[in-house]
């Protein structure tokens, strides 16, 4: 034993334990996000159960079981439950009850001793509504203008058919509202601004005024026509409704116009569930959010993140590569350039929020404010570029990721063997030609690595974005069909901020939690894939360089 201790074995194993624990932590985080995020789209069975209330009265509950955990009975008794048991611990279930408009509660913990046996009747209907969250109950009848058209077993087929119709109408109305009317509003705003512009310049003549008025009248006529179309759709969509019986026996009429989706989770086969899963996943990545971001999709957030990262790449690549070429190829090596190199390196360690503060103060208020005064005076006092937006966000992140690109490019340049440069120069090429034709192509995978790492970092960064342009709900995308198509001054949504906002600022965190896990999973996948790609690229580059050194 003593010899064993003296050999240092226990210490070796302790260090091994540190590695093992770190590995477990990494994979636990990845697994946790994946497990929670992936199950979000799977249709969960809806259970029906009897419940003995604190007052002793019995009632019926319908809902999805979300979580189960063991708690001490002390805690339960503190909450007012009278539980007659010698055990010290009991399970409790978190049940999503839905029907928020009727009962006011969406999620609630129920101690297992107070619950009866869970049953899963096949006819339990889960309805995703456009407002007030989910609704659970037994489907009773389908109505048209309030008159029953289908009842009993026939109701489900009829309801599905009518839901398809109403969803189709809903999409039509949405398209008119968002795209067509949005276009008119945009044009009206443009007209207002050009009029104001002329007014500021002092060249607003009566003829011009009349022209503007005419334009406005034309737009308003368009608007009225669209409004009429919308009204007819709205009338048509109000036609159908369904009657659903809730857990306490109440029969509620739900207009299909308010229903986004409905399904019979307990009656689905595995294949149907898989189809449903794919369908829900597609909805998640392609739809707009609903209900203060806690439901629906995250398309604008994905779009905003991609857009911001693309803009950032367009800025950071030339700047970073130029700085690296200057430092490695043109600047005289010496203490000054070494100091600069160390500083650039260290900038990568400066907290990202500091860049956010800089971006807000300098880009938004100083630069943006001046741009507004010079070019957008007609819109003042409403700021155009003088408030946070996607341009400033991507510029801030470009500065934040600049060190990553510079360092990677420099490393790539320094690994290009001397023999290659000297060969090129000896053949009569100028320095610029040598760089452009031989050195840079060889170093290009290194630049790619740097750029990918920069993108991965930018995609996951949230703190600076909170200051320079991210919002919880952007009314319009930064890219749309209205001239000039790319609206750099607009605010945008971002996956990382979406996680923070929905997880911590939302009124119904419990309902939003699965969605946040799904969003987090998406973000983790993007970043892990980007990083693995960068690692592979770097390893291949190193091997290639090793090969070149023998030349």
């Amino acid at each position: 034993m003593r010899n064993w201790y003296k050999s240092g074995e226990p210490w070796v194993w302790t260090t091994a334990g540190a590695v093992a624990l770190s590995l477990i932590m990494v994979y636990a985080v990845v697994w946790l996000t994946a497990a929670r995020g992936l199950t979000h789209f799977w249709p969960k069975p809806v259970a029906e159960v009897t419940y003995q209330e604190r007052s002793g009265a019995a009632s019926r509950l319908i809902g999805e079981i979300r979580e189960r955990e063991e708690v001490s009975l002390v805690r339960l008794r503190e909450q007012g439950y009278t539980i007659d048991s010698k055990d010290l611990f009991a399970d409790r279930y978190l049940i999503k009850l839905g029907n928020k408009d009727l009962t006011g509660v969406d999620f609630k913990w129920f101690p297992a001793p107070m619950l009866g046996e869970f049953t899963y009747p096949k006819d339990l209907l889960a309805i995703e509504r456009r407002e007030w969250g989910n609704f659970y109950g037994h489907l009773k009848a389908v109505k048209e203008h309030g008159n029953v058209v289908a009842e009993g077993p026939a109701a489900w087929g009829e309801a599905q058919k009518r839901l398809a119709r109403s969803n189709d109408l809903f999409r039509q109305a949405l398209r008119i509202e968002k795209s067509d009317i949005g276009k008119i509003n945009y044009a009206l705003e443009k007209t207002r601004l050009s009029e104001r512009r002329l007014e500021i310049d002092g060249t607003l003549t009566d003829a011009a005024k009349a022209g503007f008025a005419q334009e406005r009248a034309a737009r308003e006529a368009d608007y009225l026509a669209l409004q009429q179309k919308l009204d007819t759709i709205r009338v048509a969509i109000e036609r159908d409704s369904i009657s659903v019986e809730t857990s306490d026996g109440q029969v509620v009429d739900i207009p299909l116009a308010k229903v986004a989706d409905m399904y019979l989770p307990n009656a689905m086969s595995v294949w149907q569930k898989m189809g449903f899963y794919v369908h829900k996943f597609y909805e998640f990545v392609s739809d707009d959010p609903r209900e203060a971001n806690t439901e629906g999709g995250i398309f604008p957030a994905i779009f905003g993140t991609v857009m911001m990262v693309l803009l950032m790449s367009a800025m950071v690549t030339p700047l970073g590569i130029m700085a690296a070429i200057y430092m490695r190829e043109y600047a005289k090596p010496g203490p000054v350039i070494r100091a600069i190199r160390i500083s650039v390196n260290n900038l990568a360690g400066v907290p990202s929020i500091v860049y956010g503060v800089f971006g807000l103060g300098f880009f938004v208020y100083v630069l943006g404010g001046s741009i507004d005064e010079l070019f957008f005076a007609e819109a003042l006092p409403a700021p155009t570029f003088g408030s946070p937006g996607i341009l400033w966000a991507s510029l801030t992140l470009a500065i934040l990721t600049l060190p990553v690109v510079i360092v990677a490019t420099e490393e790539g340049l320094s690994r290009v063997p001397r023999t290659i440069r000297e060969g090129s120069l000896a053949l009569g090429a100028t320095k610029a030609e040598t760089l452009w034709r031989t050195v840079l192509p060889i170093a290009s995978p290194a630049m790619m690595t740097g750029l990918i790492l920069a993108i991965a970092r930018a995609a996951g960064e949230v703190a600076p974005l909170m200051l320079v342009g991210v919002v919880k709900l952007a009314p319009s995308l930064p890219l749309d069909g209205n001239f000039p198509f790319l609206h750099l001054e607009r605010k945008f949504m971002h996956l990382g901020f979406h996680i923070y906002d929905v997880g911590f600022q939302s009124p119904n965190v419990e309902a939003a939690r699965p969605l946040v896990y799904a969003t987090a999973l998406l973000l983790v996948i993007i970043i892990v894939v980007l990083n693995l790609f960068a690692i592979r690229l770097r390893n291949r580059l190193r091997e290639r360089m090793r090969g070149l050194e023998g030349v």
Partner: protein
């Protein structure tokens, strides 16, 4: 012919076009590269340029004399200006109100207050400056309330039709009507007066010629239908005080009345209920032999500022004592004036005030930061009246025998001093001095609390707990990875650590706040036990492995210990969690957080330092791991081979040769990790409660500088003290991390040189 020429130019192009292109490329790259480097360094200078103004001393222009004609018998009682500090206002004890241009002293208007026939002015009182209302006490026991009024009209400029000329017509208005309000029902002259008027209610307290204290309150109500305004009056006599009354002070909310009397006493009346005012207490504010010569109430109506005949200036307000009764308490003394304090005037919206003495000095003070911001001499004559412009950007002073003097003041950041940033400050309505960060509130008379001490403390606390988790795991792990691990396992571990580094902190923060924190709350005993048991489980596993017969262990060989420990760790954690609940039931009444709070008095917050430590430790581990592993790995092989050849065990070699050589590298790894932990924002934002408390306990939260920036920056108004202080926090973070990283980099650089020389 032409073709040959082009060919020649192509050949000659080596010295011509191609060289030019080469030079152009060089210039573009140099210019671009330098501009990028300059742009990056501009971050520091920009941040500094925003921060610097708050540390610059306040500026005051020279005192300019403005000569306003005045009756020899008259003396001024009140000086102020309109919002823009363009028009000065002077009121005299004879009831004349003069409006003059503050820059050149040109008189713009002069008015006499409308006094009833045969009645004289007996006293004057100014209401709270934010309300701009003053009152004259009359010789027939009545009071006339008035306010300055500026009518702004626009006219088209005759020379330039595009422009409008703004004309301001100053005048006086009577907010409660031209008819004086009766204060004393017996009709005695009002010797001293104090008044407050806001909206519908007006309250005045006066001392009559025969020495009684009378209170009168007026409540006007307008009839919703007819629009007719009816005024209701309550009048009552207050309990008397001893000695000569020298000043009456009613605060702006018309609830508390302070009476300065007997030279050194202040009596505090509760006049909230106008029908039943009460004398609460009488306090001697200065020692015997000293006399209170001036007093005022700061904006917000909470603090009393007094000045004495010896030039001392101090702040007092009510503090709730242990007996649950409010006591007028000495809060702080300011730097004294040279002579007897003659008058003190509060700023209109902030906690600043201006004091004048009988040697002709004026001093501009700020209460919260306990600063004498500026001192000026107006000559040798005693100062009579001092006044502020509403935005505190100009002061007006009149001394005996002198004309009015005015000066521009630039004093935008008076709240900042060393003591207000870093020391305990006794804020208004607080029971004791404390560290507090509270930058804004709904009310305008709010006293901003800018103590960065709790934020700095929170930052260090977060870093401390993160390092507590990260250092052992990362450094030990790096040693194993660099020295003992088999190459195949390395090819799994290294990318995993890189993935760990790449995971966005927002996800770590989200998991910590929404999953880990509630889970730890429910399994506290199990979690603590797992943390405690894990190191022992490693050693025990090692011993068991050692005891196993050789033929079982030989095939697996060394370098795979970490893989073997993975299931062990999982089992230990599982067992600890399973045992956790029974243990909580047996020893902690079934609920350990509850038990901690009730039995030990330790506050337990769900989002606490333990959770942040684990989450932020997670974020920092890869940084430390990579650098430390690199340092250990690059120790020259001949050193270790030599040591092993001399008979040392691998562990001895590691401990006495490798670690000793690599220690600077490990140190620099820890420094870089520390820098990362200090600046991390999202994890602390999401995994703590973000309350700025100073408390080392592992079971409470904190607020860090970075999270504070993240939360408050979007709402901070540009250019305010708050905005600049947030920039200051950012600058501190920037400089700290930059210095730490530079030191770490230099250490590493020297280490590399050492290795190459070995």
């Amino acid at each position: 012919m032409e073709k040959i020429e082009t060919n020649i130019s192509r050949v000659g192009g080596y010295t011509g076009r191609r060289m030019a292109r080469d030079r152009l490329f060089k210039h573009v790259m140099t210019f671009g590269g330098l501009s990028v480097i300059i742009a990056i360094s501009a971050i520091f200078f920009y941040l500094a340029s925003v921060v610097v103004p708050i540390f610059m001393p306040a500026q005051m222009g020279d005192l300019q004399q403005v000569n306003i004609p005045k009756d020899a018998l008259e003396s001024s009682v009140h000086l102020t200006s309109e919002e823009q500090a363009e028009i000065g206002v002077r009121m005299t004890d004879r009831g004349s109100v003069t409006f003059f241009d503050l820059r050149d002293g040109r008189v713009m208007a002069e008015e006499k207050v409308a006094l009833p026939e045969g009645v004289d002015i007996a006293s004057f009182a100014a209401g709270d400056p934010s309300q701009q209302v003053v009152a004259y006490g009359l010789s027939d026991g009545r009071m006339l309330v008035l306010e300055q009024d500026f009518k702004v009209t626009f006219q088209v400029d005759p020379d330039d039709h595009e422009k409008d000329i703004r004309t301001i017509t100053p005048t006086i208005a009577y907010p409660v009507g031209n008819e004086p309000l009766g204060i004393d029902e017996t009709g005695q002259a009002l010797k001293r007066l104090t008044v407050q008027h806001s909206g519908e209610s007006t309250t005045a307290v006066a001392q009559t010629a025969d020495g009684r204290l009378v209170l009168a309150a007026f409540e006007s109500r307008s009839n919703m239908i007819t629009g007719e305004v009816t005024t209701e009056r309550f009048g009552i006599e207050l309990p008397p005080v001893e000695g000569e009354v020298s000043q009456l002070l009613l605060e702006v909310k018309q609830r508390d009345l302070y009476v300065v009397h007997g030279g050194r006493f202040v009596s505090h009346y509760d006049v909230m209920n106008k029908q039943a005012p009460r004398l609460l207490q009488t306090v001697a504010l200065v020692p015997e032999g000293e006399t209170i010569t001036a007093a005022t109430i700061l904006s917000g109506g909470f603090s009393l500022i007094i000045g004495t005949d010896q030039g001392k200036v101090s702040q007092w307000f009510q503090v709730r004592g242990d007996d649950n009764v409010n006591h007028l308490t000495h809060i702080r003394s300011f730097k004294p004036m040279a002579g007897r304090v003659t008058m003190i005037t509060p700023e209109h919206f902030r906690k600043g005030f201006l004091a004048g003495d009988d040697k002709g000095n004026v001093g501009l003070y700020y209460a919260t930061s306990n600063r004498l911001i500026l001192k000026r001499s107006t000559g040798s004559e005693p100062v009579r009246v001092v006044g502020f412009a509403p935005r505190a950007n100009a002061v007006l002073v009149e001394s005996a025998g002198n004309a009015i003097q005015t000066a521009r003041v630039e004093n935008d950041y008076p709240e900042i001093s060393f003591s207000s940033l870093w020391q305990k400050v006794w804020y208004e309505s607080y029971p004791e001095p404390e560290y507090n960060w509270q930058s804004s509130a709904a009310t305008s008379d709010f006293e901003p609390k800018f103590s960065v001490a709790p934020l700095t403390f929170g930052t260090l606390k977060a870093a401390f707990y993160a390092m507590l988790v990260a250092i052992p795991l990362a450094v030990l792990g790096a040693i194993f990875a660099a020295y003992f691990m088999s190459p195949r396992m390395r090819s799994v571990v290294k990318p995993s650590i890189e993935i760990m580094e790449a995971l966005p902190t927002v996800i770590l923060g989200f998991l910590a706040g929404l999953w880990l924190a509630p889970w730890v709350d429910n399994n506290l005993a199990g979690t603590l036990m797992a943390i405690f048991l894990l190191p022992f489980s490693f050693v025990i596993t090692a011993y068991v492995w050692h005891l196993l017969p050789q033929r079982l262990t030989a095939g697996i060989g060394s370098g795979w210990e970490a893989a073997l420990l993975v299931p062990v760790i999982l089992v230990v954690i599982y067992l600890a969690i399973q045992l956790g609940h029974p243990i909580e039931a047996a020893f902690f009444g079934g609920n350990m957080p509850h038990w901690l709070t009730n039995e030990l008095g330790i506050t337990y917050e769900q989002r606490n330092s333990l959770v942040v430590g684990i989450a932020m430790g997670f974020a920092v581990i890869p940084t430390i791991f990579s650098i430390a592993e690199d340092a250990v790995f690059s120790v020259p092989k001949h050193l270790t081979s030599g040591s092993l050849a001399l008979g040392a065990t691998p562990w001895q070699t590691l401990f006495f040769v490798v670690l000793l050589t690599a220690s600077p590298g490990i140190f620099s790894a820890i420094m870089v990790g520390m820098g990362r932990a200090v600046g991390e924002t999202m994890i602390v934002l999401m995994a703590t409660g973000n309350t700025a408390v100073m408390d080392l306990s592992i079971f409470t939260g904190f607020r860090t500088l970075s999270a504070n920036i993240g939360v408050e920056m979007p709402e901070a108004a540009v250019g305010t003290t708050h905005y600049r202080l947030l920039f200051f926090s950012a600058l501190v973070l920037f400089v700290f991390t930059f210095v730490v990283n530079t030191v770490a980099e230099l250490v590493r650089h020297r280490l590399r040189e050492k290795y190459s020389s070995l």
